[in-house]
Amino acid sequence: MKKTICLSVIAVLVALTIGLTLAGCGKNSETVSTDGSTSMSQVIGALGEAFEAEKGITVTYNATGSGAGIQAVQEGRCEIGLASRSLKEEEIESGLKETVIAYDGIAVIVNPENPINDLDLETIAKIYTGEITNWKEVGGNDSAIVIIGRESGSGTRDGFESITGTEDKCKYRQELTSTGDVITAVAGNPNAIGYASLASVKDSVKALSVGGIAPSEETIKDGSYKVQRPFVFVTKKDTPISESAQEFFDYSTSEAAREIISSAGVVPAN
Protein backbone atom coordinates (compact mmCIF):
# COMPACT_ATOMS: atom_id res chain seq x y z
CA MET A 1 0.00 0.00 0.00
CA LYS A 2 2.66 2.44 1.09
CA LYS A 3 4.73 1.52 -1.93
CA THR A 4 1.83 2.27 -4.26
CA ILE A 5 1.39 5.73 -2.75
CA CYS A 6 5.08 6.39 -3.00
CA LEU A 7 5.19 5.29 -6.63
CA SER A 8 2.15 7.29 -7.61
CA VAL A 9 3.58 10.42 -5.98
CA ILE A 10 6.79 9.99 -7.95
CA ALA A 11 4.86 9.36 -11.16
CA VAL A 12 2.83 12.54 -10.71
CA LEU A 13 5.97 14.57 -10.00
CA VAL A 14 7.72 13.22 -13.07
CA ALA A 15 4.70 13.94 -15.23
CA LEU A 16 4.49 17.49 -13.90
CA THR A 17 8.18 18.15 -14.52
CA ILE A 18 8.01 16.90 -18.09
CA GLY A 19 4.85 18.88 -18.70
CA LEU A 20 6.33 22.10 -17.39
CA THR A 21 9.54 21.68 -19.34
CA LEU A 22 7.66 21.12 -22.56
CA ALA A 23 5.37 24.06 -21.91
CA GLY A 24 8.38 26.23 -21.17
CA CYS A 25 10.01 25.28 -24.44
CA GLY A 26 6.95 25.99 -26.47
CA LYS A 27 6.33 29.43 -25.03
CA ASN A 28 9.68 31.09 -25.63
CA SER A 29 10.62 30.08 -29.11
CA GLU A 30 12.27 33.44 -29.72
CA THR A 31 15.70 33.78 -28.15
CA VAL A 32 18.74 35.94 -28.60
CA SER A 33 22.02 34.14 -28.01
CA THR A 34 24.97 35.97 -26.54
CA ASP A 35 28.36 34.54 -25.73
CA GLY A 36 31.52 35.97 -24.19
CA SER A 37 33.05 37.94 -21.35
CA THR A 38 32.42 36.61 -17.86
CA SER A 39 32.81 40.14 -16.48
CA MET A 40 29.68 41.20 -18.34
CA SER A 41 27.40 38.71 -16.63
CA GLN A 42 25.82 41.33 -14.39
CA VAL A 43 25.15 43.80 -17.19
CA ILE A 44 23.80 41.16 -19.55
CA GLY A 45 21.78 39.61 -16.76
CA ALA A 46 20.11 42.92 -15.91
CA LEU A 47 19.54 43.89 -19.54
CA GLY A 48 18.28 40.45 -20.50
CA GLU A 49 15.82 40.34 -17.63
CA ALA A 50 14.38 43.78 -18.38
CA PHE A 51 14.24 42.99 -22.10
CA GLU A 52 12.43 39.73 -21.53
CA ALA A 53 9.90 41.40 -19.24
CA GLU A 54 9.19 44.00 -21.90
CA LYS A 55 9.28 42.03 -25.15
CA GLY A 56 8.92 38.41 -24.08
CA ILE A 57 12.12 37.40 -25.85
CA THR A 58 14.64 35.38 -23.86
CA VAL A 59 18.31 36.34 -23.92
CA THR A 60 20.66 33.44 -23.40
CA TYR A 61 24.14 34.14 -22.09
CA ASN A 62 27.09 31.83 -22.29
CA ALA A 63 29.93 32.97 -20.05
CA THR A 64 33.07 31.86 -21.86
CA GLY A 65 35.42 34.85 -21.96
CA SER A 66 35.98 37.73 -24.36
CA GLY A 67 38.17 35.81 -26.78
CA ALA A 68 35.79 32.88 -26.97
CA GLY A 69 32.82 35.23 -27.48
CA ILE A 70 34.47 36.97 -30.41
CA GLN A 71 35.32 33.62 -31.95
CA ALA A 72 31.73 32.47 -31.47
CA VAL A 73 30.44 35.42 -33.52
CA GLN A 74 32.96 34.73 -36.26
CA GLU A 75 31.84 31.13 -36.44
CA GLY A 76 28.17 32.05 -36.26
CA ARG A 77 27.55 30.16 -33.04
CA CYS A 78 25.90 33.16 -31.39
CA GLU A 79 24.24 36.33 -32.54
CA ILE A 80 25.91 38.88 -30.29
CA GLY A 81 29.40 38.41 -28.93
CA LEU A 82 30.38 40.05 -25.66
CA ALA A 83 33.88 41.35 -25.03
CA SER A 84 35.29 43.34 -22.15
CA ARG A 85 38.01 44.84 -24.34
CA SER A 86 38.18 46.68 -27.65
CA LEU A 87 38.52 44.57 -30.77
CA LYS A 88 42.03 44.11 -32.10
CA GLU A 89 42.85 45.35 -35.56
CA GLU A 90 42.96 41.91 -37.12
CA GLU A 91 39.57 41.13 -35.60
CA ILE A 92 38.08 44.23 -37.20
CA GLU A 93 39.73 43.30 -40.48
CA SER A 94 38.13 39.89 -40.34
CA GLY A 95 34.73 41.58 -40.67
CA LEU A 96 33.62 42.26 -37.11
CA LYS A 97 32.14 45.41 -35.67
CA GLU A 98 32.15 46.61 -32.08
CA THR A 99 29.56 48.72 -30.29
CA VAL A 100 30.45 49.95 -26.84
CA ILE A 101 27.49 49.65 -24.51
CA ALA A 102 29.17 50.52 -21.23
CA TYR A 103 32.46 51.31 -19.49
CA ASP A 104 33.66 49.43 -16.48
CA GLY A 105 35.53 51.86 -14.23
CA ILE A 106 37.60 50.35 -11.46
CA ALA A 107 38.51 52.58 -8.54
CA VAL A 108 41.79 52.05 -6.71
CA ILE A 109 40.92 52.56 -3.07
CA VAL A 110 42.87 53.23 0.12
CA ASN A 111 41.97 53.98 3.72
CA PRO A 112 40.88 57.62 4.30
CA GLU A 113 43.72 57.95 6.85
CA ASN A 114 46.28 57.34 4.11
CA PRO A 115 47.87 60.65 2.97
CA ILE A 116 48.35 59.40 -0.61
CA ASN A 117 45.84 60.83 -3.07
CA ASP A 118 47.33 60.01 -6.40
CA LEU A 119 49.32 57.19 -7.98
CA ASP A 120 50.12 56.51 -11.61
CA LEU A 121 49.28 53.26 -13.36
CA GLU A 122 52.88 52.07 -13.33
CA THR A 123 53.25 52.59 -9.58
CA ILE A 124 49.99 50.76 -8.93
CA ALA A 125 51.28 47.84 -10.99
CA LYS A 126 54.56 47.89 -9.05
CA ILE A 127 52.69 47.85 -5.74
CA TYR A 128 50.52 44.93 -6.80
CA THR A 129 53.42 42.87 -8.11
CA GLY A 130 55.35 43.40 -4.89
CA GLU A 131 58.11 45.64 -6.27
CA ILE A 132 57.06 48.43 -3.93
CA THR A 133 56.20 47.16 -0.47
CA ASN A 134 56.21 50.23 1.73
CA TRP A 135 54.03 53.34 1.51
CA LYS A 136 57.03 55.58 2.13
CA GLU A 137 58.46 54.61 -1.27
CA VAL A 138 55.57 56.44 -2.88
CA GLY A 139 55.57 59.35 -0.44
CA GLY A 140 53.32 58.02 2.29
CA ASN A 141 53.78 56.83 5.87
CA ASP A 142 56.46 54.33 6.81
CA SER A 143 54.30 51.21 6.87
CA ALA A 144 54.01 48.03 4.85
CA ILE A 145 51.47 48.01 2.03
CA VAL A 146 48.68 45.48 2.47
CA ILE A 147 47.39 44.38 -0.91
CA ILE A 148 43.75 43.42 -1.05
CA GLY A 149 42.04 42.01 -4.10
CA ARG A 150 39.35 39.70 -5.38
CA GLU A 151 39.35 35.94 -5.85
CA SER A 152 40.61 34.48 -9.12
CA GLY A 153 37.88 34.39 -11.72
CA SER A 154 36.28 37.61 -10.54
CA GLY A 155 35.52 40.05 -13.35
CA THR A 156 36.85 43.01 -11.38
CA ARG A 157 40.14 41.23 -10.69
CA ASP A 158 40.41 40.20 -14.31
CA GLY A 159 39.72 43.81 -15.37
CA PHE A 160 42.15 45.36 -12.93
CA GLU A 161 44.95 42.93 -13.72
CA SER A 162 44.56 43.23 -17.46
CA ILE A 163 44.53 47.05 -17.35
CA THR A 164 47.58 47.26 -15.10
CA GLY A 165 49.32 44.38 -16.87
CA THR A 166 49.75 42.35 -13.71
CA GLU A 167 47.98 39.13 -14.70
CA ASP A 168 48.93 36.26 -12.38
CA LYS A 169 51.69 38.34 -10.84
CA CYS A 170 49.82 40.03 -8.01
CA LYS A 171 51.05 39.33 -4.51
CA TYR A 172 47.75 39.42 -2.67
CA ARG A 173 47.60 39.51 1.08
CA GLN A 174 43.84 39.06 1.08
CA GLU A 175 41.62 37.62 -1.62
CA LEU A 176 38.03 38.45 -0.78
CA THR A 177 34.91 37.27 -2.52
CA SER A 178 32.88 40.43 -2.82
CA THR A 179 33.25 44.12 -3.53
CA GLY A 180 31.69 44.87 -0.15
CA ASP A 181 34.28 42.76 1.67
CA VAL A 182 37.13 44.54 -0.13
CA ILE A 183 35.72 47.93 0.87
CA THR A 184 35.23 46.81 4.50
CA ALA A 185 38.77 45.43 4.67
CA VAL A 186 40.31 48.59 3.21
CA ALA A 187 38.18 50.78 5.48
CA GLY A 188 39.47 48.82 8.48
CA ASN A 189 43.19 48.97 7.72
CA PRO A 190 45.16 52.22 7.20
CA ASN A 191 47.87 50.32 5.26
CA ALA A 192 45.56 48.69 2.76
CA ILE A 193 45.12 49.22 -0.95
CA GLY A 194 42.33 47.58 -2.91
CA TYR A 195 40.19 47.91 -6.00
CA ALA A 196 36.47 47.91 -6.54
CA SER A 197 34.04 48.81 -9.24
CA LEU A 198 33.56 52.59 -9.07
CA ALA A 199 29.80 52.47 -8.62
CA SER A 200 30.08 50.68 -5.29
CA VAL A 201 32.79 52.84 -3.69
CA LYS A 202 31.53 54.52 -0.51
CA ASP A 203 32.78 57.25 1.79
CA SER A 204 34.43 54.77 4.12
CA VAL A 205 37.32 54.50 1.66
CA LYS A 206 39.20 56.96 -0.53
CA ALA A 207 39.30 56.47 -4.30
CA LEU A 208 42.72 57.48 -5.63
CA SER A 209 43.15 59.56 -8.72
CA VAL A 210 45.29 57.79 -11.29
CA GLY A 211 47.92 59.88 -13.09
CA GLY A 212 46.23 63.03 -11.75
CA ILE A 213 42.72 62.18 -12.93
CA ALA A 214 40.03 61.39 -10.41
CA PRO A 215 37.59 58.62 -11.34
CA SER A 216 34.10 59.80 -12.23
CA GLU A 217 31.49 59.05 -14.83
CA GLU A 218 32.85 61.82 -17.10
CA THR A 219 36.53 60.92 -16.89
CA ILE A 220 35.68 57.28 -17.53
CA LYS A 221 33.53 58.12 -20.54
CA ASP A 222 36.08 60.41 -22.18
CA GLY A 223 38.83 57.88 -21.54
CA SER A 224 41.09 60.08 -19.42
CA TYR A 225 40.73 57.87 -16.32
CA LYS A 226 42.92 54.93 -17.18
CA VAL A 227 41.72 52.08 -14.97
CA GLN A 228 38.73 51.24 -17.12
CA ARG A 229 37.73 49.05 -19.99
CA PRO A 230 34.86 49.02 -22.47
CA PHE A 231 32.09 46.44 -22.55
CA VAL A 232 31.33 45.83 -26.20
CA PHE A 233 28.80 44.01 -28.32
CA VAL A 234 30.52 42.27 -31.20
CA THR A 235 28.60 41.64 -34.43
CA LYS A 236 29.44 40.84 -38.03
CA LYS A 237 29.83 43.86 -40.25
CA ASP A 238 28.00 42.67 -43.34
CA THR A 239 25.66 39.91 -42.16
CA PRO A 240 22.59 41.37 -40.46
CA ILE A 241 21.54 39.78 -37.18
CA SER A 242 18.06 38.35 -36.61
CA GLU A 243 15.16 40.65 -35.89
CA SER A 244 14.95 39.76 -32.22
CA ALA A 245 18.71 40.17 -31.78
CA GLN A 246 18.53 43.58 -33.44
CA GLU A 247 15.72 44.50 -31.06
CA PHE A 248 17.88 43.53 -28.07
CA PHE A 249 20.82 45.42 -29.56
CA ASP A 250 18.73 48.59 -30.00
CA TYR A 251 17.26 48.17 -26.55
CA SER A 252 20.68 47.90 -24.92
CA THR A 253 21.98 51.04 -26.61
CA SER A 254 18.80 53.03 -25.98
CA GLU A 255 18.22 55.77 -23.44
CA ALA A 256 15.90 53.45 -21.49
CA ALA A 257 18.68 50.99 -20.78
CA ARG A 258 20.90 53.61 -19.10
CA GLU A 259 19.45 53.07 -15.68
CA ILE A 260 19.60 49.29 -15.95
CA ILE A 261 23.24 49.46 -16.99
CA SER A 262 24.12 51.81 -14.12
CA SER A 263 22.37 49.51 -11.68
CA ALA A 264 24.76 46.77 -12.76
CA GLY A 265 27.62 48.93 -11.51
CA VAL A 266 29.06 50.25 -14.78
CA VAL A 267 28.89 53.51 -16.72
CA PRO A 268 26.49 53.45 -19.69
CA ALA A 269 28.07 54.55 -22.96
CA ASN A 270 25.00 56.10 -24.57
Binding site: S143, I145, E151, S152, G153, R173, E175, G188, N191
Partner: protein, 275 residues
Protein backbone atom coordinates in the same frame (compact mmCIF):
# COMPACT_ATOMS: atom_id res chain seq x y z
CA UNK B 1 9.48 5.48 5.82
CA UNK B 2 9.39 7.77 2.79
CA UNK B 3 10.90 10.62 4.81
CA UNK B 4 13.66 8.32 5.99
CA UNK B 5 14.35 7.36 2.39
CA UNK B 6 14.73 11.02 1.47
CA UNK B 7 17.51 11.42 4.04
CA UNK B 8 19.33 8.27 3.00
CA UNK B 9 18.82 9.20 -0.65
CA UNK B 10 20.33 12.65 -0.16
CA UNK B 11 23.42 11.22 1.49
CA UNK B 12 23.86 8.68 -1.30
CA UNK B 13 23.34 11.24 -4.05
CA UNK B 14 25.76 13.72 -2.50
CA UNK B 15 28.44 11.07 -1.91
CA UNK B 16 28.10 9.63 -5.39
CA UNK B 17 28.07 13.05 -7.02
CA UNK B 18 31.17 14.16 -5.14
CA UNK B 19 33.08 11.02 -5.99
CA UNK B 20 32.06 11.09 -9.65
CA UNK B 21 32.81 14.78 -10.15
CA UNK B 22 35.89 14.82 -7.93
CA UNK B 23 37.86 12.01 -9.50
CA UNK B 24 38.44 13.30 -13.08
CA UNK B 25 40.51 16.30 -11.97
CA UNK B 26 42.59 14.18 -9.62
CA UNK B 27 43.25 11.83 -12.53
CA UNK B 28 44.18 14.70 -14.80
CA UNK B 29 46.43 16.48 -12.31
CA UNK B 30 47.79 13.34 -10.69
CA UNK B 31 47.06 12.37 -7.09
CA UNK B 32 50.54 13.23 -5.81
CA UNK B 33 50.67 16.59 -7.60
CA UNK B 34 47.21 17.41 -6.36
CA UNK B 35 47.60 16.45 -2.71
CA UNK B 36 51.23 17.46 -2.26
CA UNK B 37 51.61 20.32 -4.73
CA UNK B 38 52.54 23.48 -2.90
CA UNK B 39 51.21 25.96 -5.39
CA UNK B 40 47.65 26.84 -6.31
CA UNK B 41 47.10 29.18 -9.26
CA UNK B 42 43.92 27.98 -10.89
CA UNK B 43 43.43 30.80 -13.38
CA UNK B 44 47.03 31.40 -14.41
CA UNK B 45 48.16 30.71 -17.97
CA UNK B 46 49.91 27.62 -16.69
CA UNK B 47 47.51 26.62 -13.96
CA UNK B 48 48.83 24.88 -10.88
CA UNK B 49 46.58 22.78 -8.73
CA UNK B 50 48.39 21.86 -5.54
CA UNK B 51 46.24 21.78 -2.44
CA UNK B 52 48.84 21.00 0.23
CA UNK B 53 48.58 24.56 1.65
CA UNK B 54 44.81 24.14 2.04
CA UNK B 55 45.08 20.71 3.65
CA UNK B 56 47.75 21.83 6.10
CA UNK B 57 45.85 25.01 6.93
CA UNK B 58 42.66 23.06 7.60
CA UNK B 59 44.43 20.44 9.71
CA UNK B 60 46.56 22.92 11.68
CA UNK B 61 43.67 25.34 12.09
CA UNK B 62 41.39 22.63 13.42
CA UNK B 63 44.06 21.25 15.76
CA UNK B 64 44.87 24.71 17.10
CA UNK B 65 41.20 25.48 17.70
CA UNK B 66 40.84 22.16 19.55
CA UNK B 67 43.98 22.71 21.62
CA UNK B 68 42.70 26.10 22.77
CA UNK B 69 38.99 25.30 22.83
CA UNK B 70 38.92 21.92 24.56
CA UNK B 71 40.49 22.98 27.89
CA UNK B 72 38.25 26.05 28.10
CA UNK B 73 35.17 24.05 27.16
CA UNK B 74 36.05 21.11 29.38
CA UNK B 75 36.66 23.14 32.56
CA UNK B 76 33.56 25.21 31.89
CA UNK B 77 31.57 21.99 31.58
CA UNK B 78 32.95 20.56 34.86
CA UNK B 79 32.19 23.82 36.62
CA UNK B 80 28.67 24.04 35.20
CA UNK B 81 27.78 20.45 35.88
CA UNK B 82 29.30 19.99 39.34
CA UNK B 83 30.11 23.22 41.07
CA UNK B 84 27.99 26.10 39.80
CA UNK B 85 24.77 27.06 41.61
CA UNK B 86 21.48 26.80 39.79
CA UNK B 87 21.31 30.50 38.99
CA UNK B 88 24.79 30.78 37.54
CA UNK B 89 24.31 27.57 35.62
CA UNK B 90 21.12 28.89 34.09
CA UNK B 91 22.74 32.12 33.00
CA UNK B 92 25.84 30.48 31.56
CA UNK B 93 23.85 27.77 29.80
CA UNK B 94 21.61 30.38 28.20
CA UNK B 95 24.70 32.22 26.99
CA UNK B 96 26.21 29.03 25.60
CA UNK B 97 23.00 28.14 23.78
CA UNK B 98 22.86 31.61 22.33
CA UNK B 99 26.47 31.31 21.18
CA UNK B 100 25.59 28.05 19.45
CA UNK B 101 22.75 29.75 17.60
CA UNK B 102 24.71 32.66 16.16
CA UNK B 103 25.00 32.26 12.38
CA UNK B 104 28.55 31.84 11.14
CA UNK B 105 28.37 34.90 8.90
CA UNK B 106 27.88 36.98 12.04
CA UNK B 107 31.00 35.45 13.58
CA UNK B 108 32.79 36.35 10.38
CA UNK B 109 31.54 39.91 10.34
CA UNK B 110 32.44 40.59 13.96
CA UNK B 111 35.78 38.90 13.37
CA UNK B 112 36.43 41.06 10.32
CA UNK B 113 35.56 44.32 12.06
CA UNK B 114 36.93 43.70 15.56
CA UNK B 115 39.31 40.74 15.65
CA UNK B 116 41.25 41.48 12.45
CA UNK B 117 41.75 45.07 13.53
CA UNK B 118 42.65 44.00 17.08
CA UNK B 119 45.30 41.56 15.88
CA UNK B 120 46.82 44.22 13.65
CA UNK B 121 47.10 46.69 16.54
CA UNK B 122 48.10 44.24 19.31
CA UNK B 123 50.78 42.39 17.36
CA UNK B 124 51.79 45.36 15.24
CA UNK B 125 51.57 43.44 11.95
CA UNK B 126 50.58 45.09 8.66
CA UNK B 127 47.34 43.15 8.38
CA UNK B 128 45.33 41.17 10.91
CA UNK B 129 43.51 38.88 8.49
CA UNK B 130 45.48 35.77 9.27
CA UNK B 131 45.66 32.18 10.43
CA UNK B 132 45.50 33.41 14.03
CA UNK B 133 42.24 35.28 13.44
CA UNK B 134 40.71 32.17 11.88
CA UNK B 135 41.81 29.98 14.79
CA UNK B 136 40.30 32.37 17.34
CA UNK B 137 36.99 32.50 15.45
CA UNK B 138 36.94 28.70 15.16
CA UNK B 139 37.71 28.29 18.85
CA UNK B 140 34.76 30.44 19.85
CA UNK B 141 32.54 28.62 17.37
CA UNK B 142 33.30 25.13 18.69
CA UNK B 143 33.01 26.06 22.38
CA UNK B 144 29.21 25.66 22.63
CA UNK B 145 29.35 22.16 21.11
CA UNK B 146 32.06 21.03 23.47
CA UNK B 147 30.42 22.54 26.57
CA UNK B 148 26.92 21.26 25.85
CA UNK B 149 27.87 17.68 25.07
CA UNK B 150 30.34 17.48 27.98
CA UNK B 151 27.80 18.88 30.44
CA UNK B 152 25.26 16.28 29.35
CA UNK B 153 27.84 13.52 29.80
CA UNK B 154 28.90 14.79 33.24
CA UNK B 155 25.31 15.17 34.39
CA UNK B 156 24.67 11.55 33.49
CA UNK B 157 27.34 10.25 35.89
CA UNK B 158 25.59 8.30 38.64
CA UNK B 159 25.40 10.22 41.86
CA UNK B 160 26.33 7.10 43.89
CA UNK B 161 29.87 7.13 42.46
CA UNK B 162 30.44 10.67 43.59
CA UNK B 163 28.82 10.12 46.98
CA UNK B 164 30.98 7.06 47.56
CA UNK B 165 34.11 8.99 46.72
CA UNK B 166 33.17 11.86 48.98
CA UNK B 167 32.30 9.45 51.79
CA UNK B 168 35.74 7.92 51.48
CA UNK B 169 37.22 11.30 52.29
CA UNK B 170 38.15 12.64 48.83
CA UNK B 171 37.74 16.39 48.40
CA UNK B 172 35.05 17.56 45.93
CA UNK B 173 37.69 18.60 43.37
CA UNK B 174 39.39 15.21 43.61
CA UNK B 175 36.02 13.55 43.18
CA UNK B 176 35.14 15.55 40.07
CA UNK B 177 38.41 14.96 38.27
CA UNK B 178 39.12 11.41 39.42
CA UNK B 179 35.60 9.95 39.47
CA UNK B 180 33.14 12.02 37.44
CA UNK B 181 35.39 12.89 34.53
CA UNK B 182 36.64 9.33 33.91
CA UNK B 183 33.05 8.10 34.14
CA UNK B 184 31.99 10.64 31.51
CA UNK B 185 35.10 10.01 29.41
CA UNK B 186 33.46 8.81 26.22
CA UNK B 187 30.88 11.60 26.27
CA UNK B 188 33.62 14.17 26.53
CA UNK B 189 35.56 12.47 23.74
CA UNK B 190 32.45 12.69 21.59
CA UNK B 191 32.28 16.41 22.37
CA UNK B 192 35.83 16.88 21.15
CA UNK B 193 35.17 14.97 17.93
CA UNK B 194 32.06 17.05 17.30
CA UNK B 195 34.17 20.15 17.77
CA UNK B 196 36.68 18.90 15.22
CA UNK B 197 33.85 18.27 12.76
CA UNK B 198 32.46 21.73 13.18
CA UNK B 199 35.86 23.41 12.90
CA UNK B 200 37.00 21.61 9.77
CA UNK B 201 33.70 22.18 7.96
CA UNK B 202 33.31 25.87 8.69
CA UNK B 203 33.58 28.08 5.62
CA UNK B 204 31.82 31.42 5.88
CA UNK B 205 33.31 32.84 9.08
CA UNK B 206 36.78 31.67 8.17
CA UNK B 207 36.56 33.11 4.67
CA UNK B 208 35.93 36.55 6.12
CA UNK B 209 38.90 36.64 8.50
CA UNK B 210 41.62 34.42 7.04
CA UNK B 211 42.61 36.55 4.03
CA UNK B 212 42.32 33.62 1.57
CA UNK B 213 45.69 33.85 -0.12
CA UNK B 214 46.96 30.36 -0.92
CA UNK B 215 49.96 30.44 1.45
CA UNK B 216 51.45 27.75 3.62
CA UNK B 217 50.05 28.12 7.14
CA UNK B 218 51.91 30.48 9.46
CA UNK B 219 50.56 32.42 12.41
CA UNK B 220 50.27 35.91 10.93
CA UNK B 221 50.11 34.86 7.28
CA UNK B 222 47.01 35.08 5.15
CA UNK B 223 45.81 31.51 4.57
CA UNK B 224 43.11 29.57 2.74
CA UNK B 225 41.23 26.58 4.18
CA UNK B 226 39.83 23.62 2.21
CA UNK B 227 36.31 24.93 2.64
CA UNK B 228 37.08 28.47 1.59
CA UNK B 229 39.06 27.28 -1.41
CA UNK B 230 35.89 25.68 -2.76
CA UNK B 231 33.55 28.47 -1.73
CA UNK B 232 35.56 31.39 -3.04
CA UNK B 233 36.25 30.11 -6.53
CA UNK B 234 33.12 28.11 -7.32
CA UNK B 235 30.99 31.07 -8.36
CA UNK B 236 33.21 32.17 -11.21
CA UNK B 237 34.72 28.93 -12.44
CA UNK B 238 33.33 28.01 -15.81
CA UNK B 239 31.43 24.72 -16.00
CA UNK B 240 33.46 21.82 -17.32
CA UNK B 241 36.81 23.54 -16.82
CA UNK B 242 39.63 21.83 -14.97
CA UNK B 243 39.36 24.54 -12.32
CA UNK B 244 35.75 23.58 -11.55
CA UNK B 245 36.65 19.89 -11.53
CA UNK B 246 39.57 20.57 -9.20
CA UNK B 247 37.24 22.40 -6.82
CA UNK B 248 35.08 19.29 -6.70
CA UNK B 249 38.18 17.28 -5.93
CA UNK B 250 38.95 19.60 -3.02
CA UNK B 251 35.39 19.06 -1.81
CA UNK B 252 35.97 15.32 -2.09
CA UNK B 253 39.11 15.56 0.04
CA UNK B 254 37.19 17.56 2.63
CA UNK B 255 34.38 15.02 2.49
CA UNK B 256 36.83 12.19 3.16
CA UNK B 257 38.22 14.10 6.14
CA UNK B 258 34.74 14.53 7.57
CA UNK B 259 33.88 10.88 6.95
CA UNK B 260 36.96 9.93 8.93
CA UNK B 261 35.92 12.18 11.79
CA UNK B 262 32.45 10.62 11.73
CA UNK B 263 33.95 7.16 11.82
CA UNK B 264 35.96 8.15 14.90
CA UNK B 265 32.81 9.56 16.49
CA UNK B 266 30.89 6.35 15.81
CA UNK B 267 33.71 4.33 17.28
CA UNK B 268 33.80 6.48 20.42
CA UNK B 269 30.03 6.24 20.91
CA UNK B 270 30.01 2.47 20.36
CA UNK B 271 32.72 2.06 22.95
CA UNK B 272 30.49 3.93 25.36
CA UNK B 273 27.57 1.59 24.72
CA UNK B 274 29.74 -1.48 25.00
CA UNK B 275 30.71 -0.66 28.57
Amino acid sequence: MILGLITVGSVLVISLYLVISGIPAIKEIGLINFLFGKEWASTADEPKYGILPFILTSVYGTCAAIVIGVPIGFFTAVYLSKIAGKKIRNIVETAVNLLAGIPSVVYGLVGMLVLVKGIRLVFNVPDGASFLAAVIVLTVMILPNIIKVSVTALDAVQKEYEDASLALGATPVETFFKISVPAAKSGIAAAVVLGVGRAIGEAMAVMMVAGNAANMPSLFESVRFLTTAVASEMAYSSPGSLQRKALFSIALVLFIFIMMINAVLNFVLKEKKGK
